[in-house]
């Protein structure tokens, strides 16, 4: 009796700690938002931001805030969230702590279809903004399927390292195809595609936010509802079967969700890698590996990472901008190497 009370008290304490982490992360995102507003070519001080938000700003201020900065920052957070959740799912279902939609080539596959579309149908990109996530989802899905098939070996299933190696190879092949495509483009378009591929939050308008939002509104609650399944799956196949989970089916659903999240965010932000790696890892350090808390924490860490990277990219070489993806890669690649050097063979 006493013991169980102790345990539930401990549980409560842990939950409290986890909630605390979530709140702190949310506050950090707000702080990053305010700092981000105050950097770059056109600056808004925190007071001006608040004034403008409540409708007391000048016309210019509200134009800058509502038409340029706000959609961009919201997009950064959403992209970071969905990539981090996607990485979290991939890590749990593959049992591979180095999995990430970028490293596995899923982002590259999504990018290829988008570049293909842009080069085949030159025309106004804005009209196709709602089509792009669907195309990217298709590309990402085909790539994920290809990697799965290629990494699968009869009697052995899928070993984590083979999965990663296959991903590295497939993304090398896709980038080769992409290079062929981009070299054919005219210089103006090339600059645009190159910037986009490097991962920049180019959709500085609400249409991109709106095209990304439905995907997140459907997929994120779905992933949340599967948190318990993810807990079981990350214990390993034999354990999961023993506990009565229909592994392959659940894994398939979750994989589709991960691919959808990655594809949709690639379609608006280009190839931002390593967020799906860093988000879940830091989150695991903060709240442990129970997915009920791991998923929201990864999402917030991912959002924070991208918003900060976006601000750094705007600030570091003023007046020109560095694409967010480059900033994230410069932070993320060393982190990946660090994790790799600590991993066991």
């Amino acid at each position: 009796m006493n013991k169980s009370m102790n345990r539930s008290a401990e549980q409560k304490k842990r939950n409290l700690h986890h909630r605390f982490v979530l709140i702190v992360l949310s506050i950090l995102i707000v702080v990053a938002f305010i700092i981000s507003m105050n950097t770059g070519l056109v600056r808004l001080s925190p007071v001006e931001v608040i004034q403008t938000l409540f409708g007391f700003g000048t016309e210019k201020q509200s134009l800058v805030l509502f038409e340029f900065r706000l959609p961009r920052i919201i997009l950064a957070v959403l992209v970071g969230m969905s990539l981090a959740i996607s990485g979290c799912i991939l890590q749990s279902i593959s049992g591979n702590s180095l999995a990430d939609p970028g490293i596995l080539g899923i982002n590259a596959g999504a990018g290829l279809t988008v570049v293909l579309f842009i080069s085949l149908f030159p025309g106004n990109v804005a009209t196709s903004v709602y089509l792009l996530p669907i195309l990217a989802f298709g590309g990402a899905g085909i790539t994920a399927f290809l990697i799965y098939i290629l990494a699968y070996k009869r009697h052995e299933g899928i070993s984590p390292t083979r999965l990663l190696l296959t991903g590295v190879a497939v993304s090398a092949g896709i980038s080769a195809a992409m290079i062929v495509l981009t070299l054919r483009l005219n210089p103006d378009k090339y600059q645009f595609v190159a910037t986009w591929l490097a991962g920049s939050i180019w959709g500085s308008n609400w249409a991109f936010v709106l095209s990304l939002l439905p995907w997140l509104l459907i997929l994120i609650p779905f992933v949340f509802s599967k948190a318990q399944v993810l807990n079981v799956l990350s214990l390993g196949d034999s354990m999961a079967t023993g506990l009565g989970t229909t592994i392959e089916r659940e894994r398939g659903f979750l994989l589709v969700a991960a691919v959808g999240l990655a594809g949709a965010s690639v379609s608006v932000s280009g190839g931002i890698g390593f967020v799906g790696l860093i988000g879940p890892h830091l989150a695991r350090q903060l709240v442990g590996s129970r997915h009920q808390f791991l998923i929201p924490t990864s999402a917030l860490v991912g959002g924070l990472l991208v918003i900060v990277a976006d601000a750094i990219g705007r600030w570091i070489l003023q007046p020109s901008e560095i694409p967010t993806g480059i900033v994230v890669a410069v932070i993320g690649a060393p982190y990946f190497l660090y994790l790799l050097s600590r991993s066991k063979a």
């Binding site: 190696l165 690649a333 190497l337 790799l340 063979a345």
Partner: protein, 350 residues
Amino acid sequence: METSARASAKLGKTKGNRRARPVVATLILLGGTIALLLAIGLSISFGAADISLKTVWSAVFHFNPDLTAHQIIRDIRMPRVLGAAMVGACFAVSGAIMQGMTRNPLADSGLLGLNAGATFMLAVCFAFFPGLSYIYLILFSFIGAGLGAGLVYGTGSLAKGGLTPMRLVLAGAAVSALLAALSEGVALYFQIGQDLAFWYAGGVSGTRWLNLQIMSPWIILAMIGAILLSRSITLLSLGDEVALGLGQSTKAIKFCGIIIVLILAGSAVSVVGAVGFVGLIVPHVTRFLVGHDYRWIIPCSIILGSLLVVLADLCARMVNPPFETPIGALIALLGVPFFLYIARKGGKAI
């Protein structure tokens, strides 16, 4: 000589296909050279201006500066094709040495970050010292290759389990991603993206006599070094303990080997850019054909590597004329399935 014979005899017992096959190797060297010369001739004669093989022959041996065809051959097509041949040999031999020394079947200058490092250095040079002469560019390229290799091997060997092939490839992917991101940042900031894009993609069209003049002494020296080292590399490929037991100073050999690899990969990248997978495919095919003796593998890799890149360049121009498809992309189409095949075998190819 005797020791390596004994070593290969010992291996011959354990695995039939490991035995060296000098006859096959000699055939490859002879047949390969003939095929290479033919491919070079074809490649020179093919292009926007139609030139017959006969004209190619007379342009090489009885050059007449008054004929346009002869001038096209001399000034544009010959350096290009010779550049392709040299670069192929460089990538192939650097791959062979890396695979032999580290016993890593997935070693290739593209996969292990050397190419990305050299490209990064080139981007830096283009941005900060525009108009730098090629003599210095090639040196920076060596340094860049060294930077990439150092990062990959450094982080790979920090790990507890040591340098497994898988880990090296993953470290290579991450380091390449990092260096590519940095060079993209530099390229976007200085608006030199499309100039550099051909370097990322790989192409031999920009090769001039000047490049060949500057890089050939380096390459010839490195190739001679590679052939001199080849016996020791065979021993290293049996494992460090075996090599030490047979009286090799493994550290000195590895150091020389690394220098040779950096020179070969660096000069190749400085001419054609980051062409991957040549150093992966060619040594594997060669090893399959001639057995595991690097005294045969290295010369045969020179021939087959040249042949591969010359043919790839020819295809690159034939696929979609008048546009050129980057050879890096073409070779990647061949290299990716090959890589997958080797990775699937679980790295037991060496």
